[in-house]
């Protein structure tokens, strides 16, 4: 239920080492379910750990509900023990020498909660997460999914104002992922807590978060709803990082020539777009439709053709690899395209699915 503000956070390791995070500012609203998404090494986990207090920024401020818990310039640093934040580790970090009940109760014991009250809370949380029957077992005796529930229970027992999750679904199998996703959504809805989690897995990000913050090399690339991120990527990085199959990129910068480039030029002209600032264009494979258009429709769409290199069934959809006069282009068909290698296929893309980027690789808003 708390809002978190990061102000000009810099983090470098060693005295003059390169900055893992150069200058990061963002605001996480109260009751938000925010995901920090990025490839490994992009600084997302460091950011999460700085919010928790397990790492300290080299510069900058972190505020909770407007009050600084870290401010390098003012000499303020609240130790993690005093932050009342809940953190679930990627590997759960359950204490192997304590029973499940003791794991969940430990934080309350530290707060000197009266025994009766403590037991009531512990029982309630364990029941809610369906682990009450394992109360007297040790972590090693539980499966991964159960262990994660224990880790969640251990955190929820303390009613933290902010919940931090490190790759919450990554160690689970497909079925458990769906279950845990529902569980986390429910926790968010019931407690109204502010939840921040990090992941490199866009499925995890898309399915859980209400807001996604995409990071790369210690810098924030875009913040938005899952739909924003997917449909209106702010720059090349976001466009290329998000999407189950990598986006098709057509380079149009100086010196790039070739059939696809001239095709792109025709398309831009067709749509009446000024081609001068366009340095590259991206087209998602799943936005690429296969087949021929009527004369009438072709006037509104970017259409092209090429020869089929390979058709890969993925169960439910088909990846079609197309050779457009020497350049690879991928499309996804949701119906069996009934094509085989060597066939010629036509494809087309609607205007809204054409992502254009300038020389700084930023999105050109049309």
């Amino acid at each position: 239920m708390s809002s978190i503000t990061l102000e000009n956070i810099r983090k470098s390791y060693g005295r003059s080492g390169p900055a893992a995070i150069a200058n990061l500012s963002m605001e996480i609203g109260a009751s938000e379910f925010l995901c920090l998404l990025g490839p490994s090494g992009c600084g997302k986990t460091t950011t999460l750990r700085m919010i928790a207090g397990l790492e300290h920024p080299t510069d900058g401020r972190i505020l909770v509900d407007g009050k600084p818990i870290v401010s390098v310039a003012d000499g303020i640093f609240t130790v993690p023990e005093k932050r009342n934040m809940g953190l679930v580790f990627q590997n759960y970090a359950l204490w192997p020498h304590m029973t499940i009940r003791d794991n969940v109760a430990f934080g309350l014991t530290l707060r000197r909660t009266p025994a009766a009250e403590r037991d009531a809370i512990v029982n309630q949380v364990m029941t809610k997460l369906g682990i009450a029957k394992y109360a007297d077992r040790y972590p090693a005796q539980l499966s991964g999914g159960q262990q994660q529930r224990v880790a969640l229970a251990r955190m929820l027992a303390l009613k933290p104002s902010v919940i931090l999750l490190d790759e919450p679904l990554s160690n689970l199998d497909a079925k458990l992922r769906l279950e845990m996703r529902a569980e986390l959504k429910r926790i968010h809805a019931e407690a109204g807590s502010t939840i921040v989690f990090v992941t490199h897995d866009q499925w995890e990000a898309m399915t859980l978060a209400t807001t996604i913050a995409v990071m790369s090399e210690g810098e924030l690339q875009q913040v938005g709803t899952p739909d924003d991120i997917y449909e209106r990527p702010a720059n090349r990085f976001v466009a290329e990082f998000v999407g189950s199959l990598p986006i098709n990129i057509i380079e149009r910068s100086a010196g790039e020539t070739g059939p696809l480039v001239s095709w792109l030029d025709q398309v831009l002209a067709l749509f009446g777009i000024d081609a001068a600032p366009v340095a590259s264009a991206g087209i998602r494979p799943e936005a690429t439709r296969l087949g021929r258009l009527s004369q009438h429709e072709a006037a509104r769409c970017a259409a092209g053709y090429g020869s089929v290199v390979d058709v890969v069934p993925t169960g439910g959809s088909w990846i079609v690899e197309i050779d457009v006069k020497g350049t690879r282009f991928f499309a996804i068909a949701t119906d069996n395209p009934r094509l085989s290698a060597g066939d010629t296929t036509h494809f087309w893309v609607e205007r809204q699915h054409l992502h254009l980027f300038d020389r700084e690789k930023q999105r050109i808003v049309l």
Partner: protein, 624 residues
């Protein structure tokens, strides 16, 4: 409601990229300092690391450095001879030990003897140990499990107990005291059989053969038989496979075993003291002991320095090779297969060989030692010769020690001293080792953690007797905050503790590495401060590691002689030094009785450790 908010999220969110003016606002240095203090106050690891660095700088580094300084500065006794002032830089001692007319007896002969017995010990232990390593790891030898404990027995017991056993059997009239068994049987062993190079090499070889058995056996165990198979399938003969595939891959473990044995022989004092000194056969360790006991501080510093140098070189070679060996690790794929070779008709000879090695290296010596303690004349098996006098007798016809060991106050004092001094040192080493592990793994300053790791490892490079010499240099006089410690139990406890730190700190580091940060961070998140985390999370999780980090140093400390023989005085005798004192007086039976008690304690302890947990004898050998 929330949905509305989210739609506008991307606009509402302030998105700033680099080059904001705000960070550049001036920050007073004091504020930044107070920030760093606050950050570190949550985590006293650095403080702990620095504290440990000071403690071990004082207990380990300072003595060794002082020792080296002692080798090149003028001592009080030599002011007249060197015509220099006290504390001046001098080459007098180096000259005396290495070049002067007495250098032959003081240094060069002992050096040659040390070289001879080490090389002989290495060769013999390989001839004995390598086949057994193979039998135990790669064949279906009958009684393999039993053998793999029994054949390590010699290493569990002090090396010089086997020297005493040898003396019991082969002693002749060259030295005084009770006759040996052979003599009683009517055969007088010649001097070359009774004393000197041959028995010393043999005993060291049998004592350290377990190194070869374990290191070579483990390497063979990890060796993927598929590598052999693929060579065979390409047409290589078994001999070619052995020469071109197995041998190169086994090389690191073999050389590692050899350097370890060399380093151990270098520092082994007891065996040469019992079997060499009576006939003037000196090794470096005994020469150093004589220099110390005749108060030649400068010469003993030089000798100790040479031993340290040789020990360091051999350990560095070993570490290099272990690093080399790690390169090979990638070869052992996950699907490594170890096939047992059926011995077939070789089963009986192989079994006989293993049994023979056991009988010679452990059976006969222990039996001889034990039987001697109940015989008036050693080796005479007539019924009236048996007696329990040496255990519980009274009014024996001897000048001193007129009663059995079990009725002698000094024995119980030595036993008690052993238990409390070694026990205290072991507990200290175990706890400090775990703390060192914690500090090394968690220290935010890499330099501190490297320094701490190296310093606690230093005693490993310094053979016991040289380390004891270093402790004399350091603590024979008052070193604030400590008073002069020579003759007190404290110097023994500190020396044993410091001497056990290499193992204890390695154990601590490796168990802390395995622990990882997360359990502790999880504690931090739910509100546990540093001391609470230590008490409720780190130490309980490491309980088993702590137990073995205490017990293994305890066992190794109990049987250690070379370290304590220099530092103990009659009032602070341990079982080991007490036994050696009895040997000096010629009370063979009593000495043997003490040694038998010592073996019982060491053996039970070792078995206990292996029962309790992950601790393995090979860990204690520094094979890691």
């Amino acid at each position: 409601m929330r949905k509305d908010k989210n739609i506008n999220r991307s606009d509402a969110m302030t998105l700033q990229t680099a080059s904001s003016e705000d960070t550049q606002r001036p920050q007073p240095a004091t504020k930044r300092l107070s920030y760093l203090l606050r950050v570190n106050s949550a985590d006293p690891t650095l403080m702990l690391a620095l504290l440990l660095l000071v403690v071990f700088g004082y207990l380990i580094l300072a003595p060794v450095v002082l020792l080296l300084i002692d080798a090149v500065t003028v001592h009080f006794a030599d002011i007249a001879r060197t015509k220099q002032d006290l504390g001046d830089l001098t080459f007098y001692y180096l000259n005396r030990v290495l070049v002067s007319p007495i250098s032959r007896d003081l240094f060069w002969w002992p050096l040659a003897h040390t070289a001879i017995i080490s090389v002989a010990a290495i060769v013999i232990s390989f001839l004995v140990g390598a086949p057994i390593g193979w039998l135990l790891s790669r064949t279906d030898l009958i009684g393999k499990k039993w053998f793999s404990t029994a054949l390590l027995l010699p290493y569990m017991l002090p090396s010089w107990t086997f020297a005493l056993a040898w003396l019991t059997l082969f002693k002749n009239r060259t030295t005084g005291g009770q006759p040996g068994w052979m003599e009683t049987f009517g055969f007088t062993p010649p001097d070359w059989l009774a004393y000197g190079a041959l028995p010393i090499s043999l005993i060291l070889a049998l004592h350290y053969a377990p190194f070869v058995i374990l290191l070579f056996g483990n390497a063979l165990k990890q060796f993927d038989t598929q590598l052999e198979d693929s060579a065979r399938s390409l047409g290589a003969s078994p001999a070619t496979v052995a020469r071109r595939i197995i041998l190169p891959l086994m090389m690191p473990s073999l050389v590692s075993a050899a350097t370890l044995i060399f380093a151990k022989c270098l520092g082994d004092f007891g065996v040469a003291y019992v079997l060499g000194v009576p006939v003037g056969f000196d090794v470096l360790a005994t020469s150093l002991f004589r220099a110390i006991s005749t108060s030649q501080a400068g010469a003993s510093a030089v000798l100790a320095g040479v031993i340290v140098l040789l020990g360091t070189i051999s350990i560095i070679i070993d570490m290099r090779l272990l690093k080399e060996a790690k390169r090979f690790v990638t070869i052992g794929s996950k699907g490594a297969m170890v096939r047992q070779t059926p011995l077939g008709k070789w089963q009986a000879p192989a079994f006989a060989w293993a049994l023979l090695v056991f009988i010679i290296s452990a059976g006969i010596p222990l039996l001889a030692l034990t039987l001697t303690t109940v015989m008036r004349v050693p080796g005479s098996f007539s019924l009236d010769n048996f007696t329990l006098d040496y255990w519980i007798g009274t009014d024996l016809g001897t000048t001193a020690l007129r009663q059995g060991i079990l009725l002698t106050g000094e024995f119980w004092l030595a036993l008690w001293n052993t238990v409390w001094m070694v026990g205290l040192a072991a507990i200290g080493a175990g706890v400090l080792g775990l703390l060192v592990g914690y500090a090394v793994v968690r220290s935010p300053v890499a330099f501190v953690s490297v320094a701490l790791r190296q310093i606690t490892f230093l005693p490993y490079l310094v053979p016991g007797i040289a380390f004891a010499a270093a402790y004399l240099s350091m603590f024979a006089v008052a070193r604030p905050p400590l008073p002069a410690l020579y003759g007190t139990p404290i110097i023994l406890v500190l020396a044993i503790l410091a001497d056990q730190m290499p193992f204890a700190s390695r154990a601590g580091i490796s168990s802390m590495m395995q622990l990882g940060r997360e359990p502790e961070e999880a504690g931090q998140i739910v509100g546990a401060g540093w001391f609470r985390r230590m008490r409720s999370i780190v130490l309980p999780i490491q309980r088993n590691a702590l137990v073995s980090a205490i017990l293994l140093p305890f066992i190794s400390g109990i049987k250690g002689l070379s370290l304590v023989v220099v530092l103990a005085v009659p009032g602070t005798d341990l079982l080991t030094t007490y036994a050696i004192r009895l040997v000096d007086y010629g009370y063979s039976q009593a000495a043997n009785a003490v040694v038998v008690m010592l073996c019982v304690v060491a053996f039970t302890g070792t078995m206990l450790v292996q029962k309790i947990g992950k601790a393995n004898l090979s860990d204690g050998m520094g094979s890691k």
